[in-house]
C-alpha cells in the first residue's frame, strides 16, 4: 500500500507557494517594487533562504544584545526566532531534530505573544503556532512510517492525529482573528496610494494562507488512515470541499493554484482518477514561471495517477521525463518518490508480460534495481515499499566469500549500505568485515572507524548486542575525537542496555557494570552533549531500579538538553515518590514522617512542573507522555486525599481520549489507568453516579479476561488506598472511604443495564473485603441466578461459602462446600474451605473442634506424598495446631508444631513459618 505523505521538501515548497498567495499577474507587475523591510530583517531572511539557520540564530542573539538595535525591532526578535526554528524544521531531514526545533519555535512564539499580546504580528504568531502543531503532526506521521512494529506504528499515527486535531483547533482560532482583522477594512475600492490598501491585501493574504493550511490538515490526517477506510474517505471529502472552495474564490492566486493541486491529489486518492488527471493537466498547461515548482509536484502526482490507471508504459515514460528534468536533487523526497514510481511501472510491465518490456528485461531490471537502491539508501516514506520491491528482483541469500574477497573498500561499503537499506544485516556484516580487511586502521583510521561504526550498528540491528557494545565502546574510548564517537557511545549504551535486558544469569551483573562504566565515561568526556544526558537518564534508571533513590534523583535532575529534560524530571518525580512510600513504610504505624511528606511534596512539584510545561508546549491531551504525566500527578493527589484536584487533572484527558475515534495499545493502556484513577477519585469524592459511569467506560474498554483483570486491579487499588489510610492511623478517613466505597458498590449492584458477571462478582468480593458478608451473600446468589452458564461459577460458590461462614451461617456454608467437594473431590481450594468452615464453626460451637482437627489432619495427610511438599501441606498442619490450641490443648498444639518444624526449616513460605513461630510462642514452646 502506498500512502502518499507530503514530506519535508515538498512541504516547504508548498508553504512558500502558499505564503506568496498574491495574484500571479499582480505579483509580476509589482515585482521589485516591494516596500523594503528593515535591513536586519532582510538580512535575516537572506540567511534563512540560504539555509544558514545557525547564523540566523546567532544574528538574532547579537541583535538582542546590541544596545543600538532599534526599539521597534527588539520586540519582533522572539517572533523571528520562532520563524527561524519553524523554517529549519521544514528543512531538517532528521525527525528528532525536527521535533526539537518545533518545540523551540513554539516556545519563541509563546514568549512573543506573552510579551506583546497586542502587537501587529500577534495574529501572525498565532498562525505560526498552529503551523508548529501541524508540522508536529506531520513529523509524528513520518516517524510512524518508519516503524516496523504495527502496534508502534499505530501509536505513532494516533499521536499524529492528536497533533492534527490540536493544529486544527489552533488554525480555527487564528482564522477567526484573521477574519476579524480583514473585515475591519472597508469593502469599497481603495486607491493604490491609500495605505489601507496594502494592509487590507496583507490581511487577505494571511487569511487565505491560513485557510489553505487548515484544509491541508484534513488531507494529512487522511493519510494516517488505511486506504479505502471510512475515516480516510471522510477526511478526503472534507479536504476536497475546502480545496475547491479556496480555488473557486482565488483562481488567479498562488494559494488558489496550490489548493487546486491538492484538490486533484485528494480526488486521486479517493479513486476519482479522471477528475484528478483533468486538474493535473490543467495546471501543467500554465506558462507562468512562478508555477514551475508547483508544476514539478503536479507532474509527480500525474505519474502516480497514470500508474493507477493501469497505463504502466506511459507512467514509466513520464517518470523518466520527470527525472531527466530534475537532475541534481538526489535524495529529495520527491525524487525518491518518482524513482519508486519508475520501478513500480517497470515491475508492472514485466509482471503483465508486456512484450516491449519483456524484450529488454535485463536492461529494465538493472534500471529498476539501480533506482530502488537509491531509494532504500535514504529514510523516506517510500523506503518500505522500495525494500519490498527490491527484494523481489535482487538475488537472495548470503554473499559468497569469493565475491567478498574481490571487493575493494569503497565497493564493500557501498554494498553494505545497500544491504542495510534492505535490512539484510548478516550480509551487511559480512561486507563490512570484508571492508575492514581492505583498510589499514593505523594509516586511515577515519575510514576504518566508519566501517567499524556501521558494523556495530548492524550487530545491534541483528540483535547481537554484546558484539555491538564491545565495538561501539572501543570506538568511543579509543577515538574520542572522531566525528561519530558520540553516536558510537549512544549506540554502545543502547546495546549494553539491550544485552542486560535480554541476558540471564551472572553475566547480567557484568553487563550492568559495563553499562554504568560507559555512561560514566560519556558524561566525563562530553558533559554537554545530548548523549551525556542519555547516560544520566540511564544512570538514574539503574539507581531507581536498585532502590537508590537519591542517586537516581541527582542523575535525572542533571539532565539539561531540551528534548530529554521533561522525561528526566518526570522520572525524578517518580524516584521522589517511591522514596516517600519507602519512608512511610519505615516509619511507625499511624505517624506521618516529615521526610516522607517532603519527598511526596517534591514529587508533586516536579510532576506539576513537567505537566505544566507539556500543556504550555501544546502537547496534545492524548499524547502518551502527557497522559502518563497526568496519571502520576492524579495518583499522588488521590493518595493524599485530594480527589477533586485529581479529577481536575484527569477530566480533560479522559474526555479527549473518549472522543478519539481510535487509539494505540499504549494509549489504551494509559486510558484504562486514567479511568481507574478517575473511578477511585469519584468514589473518594462521593460522586457515585460519575463513578458508575466510569465503571461502564472501563467495562467497554476491556473485555473477557482483561475485564476480570481490570476488576481485580481496581479492587487492589481501593484496598491499597484503604490500607494506606489504616497504616497512617487515619480512622476517620478510613471510615469515610469505606462508606464511599460501599455506597458505590450498592449503586453498581443496583444499576439495571450493562451488568456483567465480572462487575457483580467483583462487587460481591469487595463487600466481603468491607466486612459486609450479608450483602456479599445476596450478590453471589444473584450472580449464580443471573449467570447460570458461566464457567466461573465455582469461584462464586466458593466465595458464597466464605460469605456464609463470615456471617455465622455455618449450615449454609457447609452445604455449599459439601456440594463443591462432591462435584470436585480433588480440588484443594474447596477442601480447605470445607475445613475452614468447620474451624470457624467450632469457634461458636466448641463441639466441632475434634471434627475440624480431623478434617485438617486428613487433608494434610492427603498432601503428604507430594514432593516437594506444597505450602498448603504446612498450612493444614498449622490449622491442626491452631484448632488444638483453641480447643485448649496447648501441649498437643506444641507437639504438632514442633514435629512439623523438625521436618522442614522453610515450612512452605516465610509467612507460614512466621505463623508457626508465633503460635509456638503462644503455646509456650
Amino acid at each position: 500500500m502506498l500512502r502518499f505523505r507530503r514530506a519535508a521538501a515538498p512541504i516547504a515548497a508548498v508553504l512558500v507557494l502558499a505564503s506568496c498567495s498574491c495574484p500571479v499577474a499582480e505579483a509580476r507587475q509589482v515585482d521589485g517594487e516591494e516596500a523594503p523591510s528593515p535591513r536586519p530583517l532582510r538580512f535575516l531572511e537572506g540567511l534563512r533562504e540560504r539555509g544558514y539557520f545557525d547564523l540566523a540564530d546567532e544574528y538574532i542573539a547579537s541583535l538582542r544584545d546590541d544596545p543600538e538595535t532599534p526599539d521597534t525591532l527588539k520586540p519582533i526578535l522572539a517572533f523571528e526566532e520562532g520563524r527561524n526554528k519553524l523554517r529549519e524544521a521544514e528543512a531538517a531531514p532528521d525527525l528528532e531534530r525536527r521535533d526539537l526545533l518545533l518545540d523551540q519555535g513554539r516556545a519563541a512564539f509563546d514568549a512573543f505573544l506573552k510579551a506583546h499580546p497586542s502587537h501587529e504580528l500577534a495574529v501572525e504568531a498565532k498562525v505560526q503556532l498552529a503551523q508548529v502543531l501541524y508540522q508536529r503532526g506531520q513529523t509524528a506521521a513520518l516517524k510512524a512510517d518508519e516503524r516496523e512494529d504495527p502496534a508502534d506504528r499505530e501509536a505513532g499515527l494516533a499521536a499524529a492525529r492528536a497533533a492534527f486535531a490540536e493544529a486544527r483547533r489552533s488554525f480555527d482560532a487564528a482564522r477567526a482573528d484573521l477574519e476579524q482583522a480583514y473585515r475591519a477594512f472597508p469593502v469599497a475600492f481603495l486607491e493604490e496610494s491609500d495605505p489601507r490598501r496594502a494592509a487590507r491585501d496583507e490581511a487577505q493574504r494571511q487569511l487565505i494562507d491560513a485557510t489553505l493550511k487548515r484544509a491541508l490538515i484534513d488531507y494529512d490526517e487522511a493519510q494516517t488512515y488505511p486506504e479505502g477506510s471510512d475515516d480516510r474517505n471522510r477526511l478526503l471529502d472534507e479536504a476536497i470541499t475546502a480545496f475547491k472552495s479556496i480555488y473557486d474564490s482565488y483562481r488567479t492566486w498562488m494559494a488558489g493554484f496550490a489548493a487546486r493541486m491538492w484538490q486533484g491529489k485528494s480526488l486521486e486518492e479517493k479513486g476519482d482518477l479522471g477528475a484528478a488527471m483533468g486538474i493535473y493537466n490543467e495546471l501543467l498547461t500554465h506558462e507562468d514561471p512562478r508555477l514551475r515548482q508547483l508544476q514539478r509536484q503536479v507532474a509527480f502526482f500525474k505519474v502516480i495517477t497514470t500508474r493507477k490507471r493501469g497505463e504502466a508504459p506511459l507512467a514509466e515514460r513520464l517518470a523518466r521525463e520527470w527525472l531527466n528534468a530534475s537532475r541534481g536533487d538526489a535524495g529529495s523526497y520527491e525524487r525518491l518518490g518518482v524513482q519508486l514510481e519508475l520501478a513500480r511501472n517497470i515491475d508492472a510491465q514485466l509482471e503483465s508480460g508486456y512484450a516491449p518490456a519483456v524484450a529488454r528485461k535485463d536492461d529494465l531490471v538493472r534500471d529498476l534495481t539501480g533506482q530502488l537502491r537509491q531509494v532504500v539508501a535514504y529514510a523516506s516514506p517510500y523506503k518500505a515499499d522500495a525494500v519490498e520491491l527490491l527484494k523481489k528482483y535482487r538475488p537472495s541469500g548470503p554473499i559468497d566469500a569469493r565475491t567478498l574477497a574481490g571487493l575493494g573498500f569503497d565497493q564493500a561499503m557501498t554494498r553494505a549500505r545497500e544491504e542495510m537499506g534492505l535490512r539484510s544485516w548478516d550480509n551487511a556484516i559480512a561486507l563490512l568485515r570484508a571492508a575492514l580487511t581492505k583498510v589499514n586502521p593505523a594509516r586511515d583510521p577515519g575510514r576504518a572507524n566508519e566501517a567499524r561504526y556501521l558494523l556495530a550498528f548492524n550487530f545491534y540491528s541483528a540483535g547481537r548486542y554484546h558484539e555491538s557494545a564491545v565495538l561501539a565502546d572501543f570506538l568511543a574510548r579509543r577515538y574520542p575525537s572522531w566525528d561519530s564517537s558520540l553516536a558510537a557511545t549512544e549506540l554502545g549504551m543502547g546495546a549494553m542496555a539491550q544485552a542486560y535486558e535480554s541476558s540471564r544469569g551472572r553475566g547480567r551483573e557484568q553487563d550492568l557494570r559495563r553499562l554504568r562504566d560507559l555512561a560514566d565515561y560519556t558524561i566525563a568526556t562530553w558533559p554537554d552533549s545530548s548523549q551525556a544526558d542519555v547516560a544520566r537518564i540511564l544512570q538514574g534508571d539503574i539507581a531507581l531500579g536498585q532502590g537508590r533513590y537519591p542517586e537516581a534523583i541527582d542523575a535525572y535532575l542533571s539532565v539539561t538538553t531540551s528534548g530529554r529534560v521533561l522525561d528526566a524530571r518526570s522520572k525524578a518525580a517518580s524516584a521522589h515518590w517511591r522514596r516517600s512510600l519507602e519512608l512511610r513504610k519505615q516509619g511507625p504505624e499511624g505517624a506521618a514522617s516529615p521526610e516522607a511528606a517532603a519527598e511526596a511534596e517534591k514529587a508533586l512539584a516536579l510532576l506539576q512542573e513537567t505537566y505544566d510545561a507539556r500543556v504550555e508546549a501544546r502537547v496534545a491531551p492524548t499524547d502518551p507522555d502527557r497522559l502518563s504525566n497526568a496519571a502520576d500527578l492524579a495518583e499522588i493527589h488521590l493518595i493524599e486525599d485530594r480527589p477533586s484536584e485529581s479529577l481536575a487533572i484527569l477530566a480533560p484527558h479522559t474526555e479527549a481520549i473518549g472522543a478519539a475515534s481510535s487509539m494505540s495499545d499504549r494509549t489504551e493502556e494509559l486510558y484504562v489507568r486514567l479511568m481507574k484513577l478517575q473511578l477511585q477519585a469519584h468514589i473518594a469524592a462521593g460522586q457515585t453516579d460519575a463513578a458508575i459511569s466510569d465503571m461502564s467506560v472501563l467495562e467497554a474498554v476491556a473485555s473477557g479476561d482483561s475485564l476480570t483483570q481490570l476488576f481485580f486491579s481496581i479492587g487492589r487499588l481501593l484496598e491499597a488506598e484503604m490500607e494506606t489510610q489504616r497504616q497512617a492511623g487515619d480512622r476517620a478517613r478510613l471510615e469515610a472511604s469505606r462508606k464511599a466505597f460501599e455506597q458505590f458498590l450498592d449503586a453498581l449492584i443496583e444499576r439495571q443495564s450493562n451488568q456483567s458477571f465480572e462487575s457483580l462478582q467483583w462487587a460481591g468480593e469487595q463487600m466481603l473485603t468491607l466486612e459486609r458478608p450479608d450483602r456479599a451473600i445476596e450478590i453471589f446468589r444473584r450472580v449464580i441466578e443471573e449467570f447460570p452458564e458461566s464457567d466461573r461459577l465455582l469461584r462464586t460458590r466458593l466465595k458464597l461459602s466464605g460469605a456464609h461462614r463470615r456471617a455465622g451461617q455455618f449450615n449454609e456454608a457447609w452445604a455449599v462446600t459439601a456440594r463443591l467437594v462432591a462435584e470436585n473431590p480433588k480440588a484443594l481450594d474447596f477442601l480447605m474451605e470445607q475445613c475452614q468452615v468447620l474451624e470457624d464453626w467450632a469457634e461458636v460451637e466448641p463441639g466441632y473442634w475434634n471434627v475440624a482437627i480431623r478434617h485438617w489432619q486428613d487433608l494434610a495427610k492427603r498432601l503428604e506424598g507430594a514432593r516437594p511438599r506444597r505450602p498448603e501441606y504446612y498450612e493444614c498442619w498449622y490449622h491442626v495446631a491452631l484448632c488444638q490450641f483453641n480447643k485448649g490443648s496447648k501441649d498437643a498444639a506444641r507437639r504438632t508444631l514442633k514435629s512439623v518444624m523438625a521436618l522442614s526449616t522453610t515450612l512452605g513460605s516465610p509467612e507460614i513459618k512466621q505463623d508457626y513461630e508465633q503460635l509456638l510462642r503462644r503455646a509456650g514452646g
Binding site: G46, R50, G51
Partner: protein, 344 residues
C-alpha cells in the same frame, strides 16, 4: 477614418527617428553633468583620454558609464550578446572582426578595446590567457594612446600585472594612469594596493593618508582610499584600526548605497578574516551577498570569500553550494579561482 496625418506628427516622428539614430552616452548614477534621463544623445564628435565631446558638450570620462554608437553592425551586436552570455573567447574574436568591419573609427576603437577587455576578464579566470590579454591591452595603450580607452586599458593592464605578481610593471601602468586628471586619485589608491601586495604597507598608508587629506569626505575617491587604508592596516596586523576605518565608512553610508556598502562590507570581511575572526568575517561578506548583490564584481568577491570561509569552518557542503552559485551567476568572474582554491 481620417487619412491625413498632422504635419506636427510627421515632424515628431522624424525627430524621434533622428534621436534614435544617434550615439548615446550613458552617465554614471549621480553624475555631476545634468542631462535628462542621465544620458546624452547625439553625435560623438571627439574622444580623448580625458573626455568625450558629444552634441557640443564635453563630458569627463569619470562621468561616463557607457557609450553606444549608432549602427554598430551585426558583428558588434553579436559580440556584445556573446559577452553578455559569458562566452568571452567568442566575444573577443567577434569584437576583433567587428573592429575591421565598421566604418566609424570611434566604434572600431571601442570594438578593439572591448575585445581586449574580454580577453583580460578571461585571463583573470584562466592565467594561461594572460599573455594574450596583456599583448592586446598594450596594443591599445601604445596605438590608441589618444583614445578614451587609454586609461581603462592601463587599469586593466595593471590588474593583470598584479595577478602575475609583476609589481613593477603594474606600478608603471598606474603611474601612467595617474597622469590622467580624472584617474589620478583612483591610480593613487591602486598604487597603494600594489604597495600592500609588495609588503610595503607602511608606505601605502602614508600615500593614502595624503590622499585622504586631499579629497573631500564622502566622495568616491575618499571611500576607495579609506577602504584601501583599512586593507593596508590589516596587512600590518593593526586589525582594530582597520576595522574602525571600515566601520566608519559603513556607518556614514546611506543604507541603500550599494556602491559604497558592497565593497565596504567585503573589505570589512577581509580585515576580520585577517584578524582570525572567520565567523565575523562571514557575516560581513554575507551582508554584501544578501543586501548588496547588485555590483557584480563585489558580489562575486563576497561569494568567493564566503566559500573559502565555509571551508575554514569545516562546512564543505555549504562551501560547495556557494561555489556552485558563483559558477552559475558569474561564470567568468576573476574571483572564481579564489573560491575553489584552498583557504589562505
Amino acid at each position: 477614418m481620417n487619412s491625413h496625418r498632422s504635419p506636427w506628427a510627421i515632424l515628431a516622428v522624424l525627430a524621434l527617428a533622428g534621436v534614435s539614430a544617434a550615439d548615446d552616452v550613458v552617465l554614471v548614477p549621480g553624475s555631476t553633468i545634468t542631462a535628462p534621463g542621465g544620458r546624452i544623445r547625439g553625435k560623438v564628435e571627439r574622444e580623448t583620454p580625458e573626455q568625450v565631446r558629444i552634441a557640443g558638450r564635453d563630458v569627463p570620462l569619470d562621468q561616463i558609464d557607457d557609450i553606444t554608437y549608432d549602427a554598430p553592425g551585426a558583428t558588434f551586436t553579436q559580440a556584445k550578446a556573446r559577452e553578455n552570455s559569458g562566452d568571452l573567447d567568442q566575444a573577443a574574436e567577434l569584437y576583433r572582426q567587428a573592429a575591421g568591419e565598421v566604418n566609424n573609427p570611434l566604434l572600431a576603437q571601442d570594438a578593439r578595446f572591448r575585445g581586449a577587455a574580454a580577453l583580460a576578464r578571461r585571463a583573470q579566470v584562466d592565467p594561461s590567457k594572460r599573455e594574450a590579454a596583456i599583448e592586446a591591452l598594450e596594443g591599445i595603450t601604445s596605438e590608441l594612446s589618444n583614445s578614451r580607452h587609454y586609461g581603462p586599458a592601463l587599469e586593466l593592464l595593471s590588474t593583470l600585472r598584479l595577478d602575475a605578481q609583476e609589481y613593477d610593471a603594474a606600478d608603471r601602468a598606474l603611474q601612467d594612469l595617474a597622469k590622467l586628471s580624472w584617474a589620478s586619485d583612483r591610480a593613487a589608491v591602486l598604487r597603494a594596493q600594489v604597495m600592500v601586495k609588495r609588503g610595503q604597507s607602511e608606505q601605502a598608508i602614508r600615500e593614502l593618508d595624503t590622499l585622504v587629506g586631499r579629497v573631500p569626505e564622502g566622495s568616491p575617491a575618499r571611500i576607495r582610499a579609506d577602504l584601501a587604508r583599512a586593507e593596508a592596516l590589516a596587512g600590518l596586523s593593526r586589525f582594530d584600526e582597520a576595522e574602525q576605518v571600515v566601520r566608519a565608512v559603513i556607518d556614514e553610508a546611506e543604507p541603500e548605497d550599494a556602491s559604497t556598502l558592497a565593497p565596504a562590507y567585503n573589505t570589512l570581511g577581509d580585515c576580520l578574516r585577517a584578524a582570525g575572526k572567520p565567523r565575523d568575517a562571514l557575516f560581513a561578506y554575507l551582508n554584501t551577498d544578501i543586501l548588496y548583490p547588485s555590483l557584480a564584481d563585489e558580489h562575486a568577491r563576497s561569494l568567493a570569500a564566503i566559500a573559502q570561509l565555509w571551508r575554514i569552518l569545516d562546512r564543505d557542503d555549504r562551501a560547495a553550494s556557494v561555489v556552485e552559485r558563483l559558477r552559475q551567476e558569474y561564470p567568468n568572474s576573476r574571483h572564481l579561482p579564489a573560491a575553489t582554491a584552498s583557504a589562505p
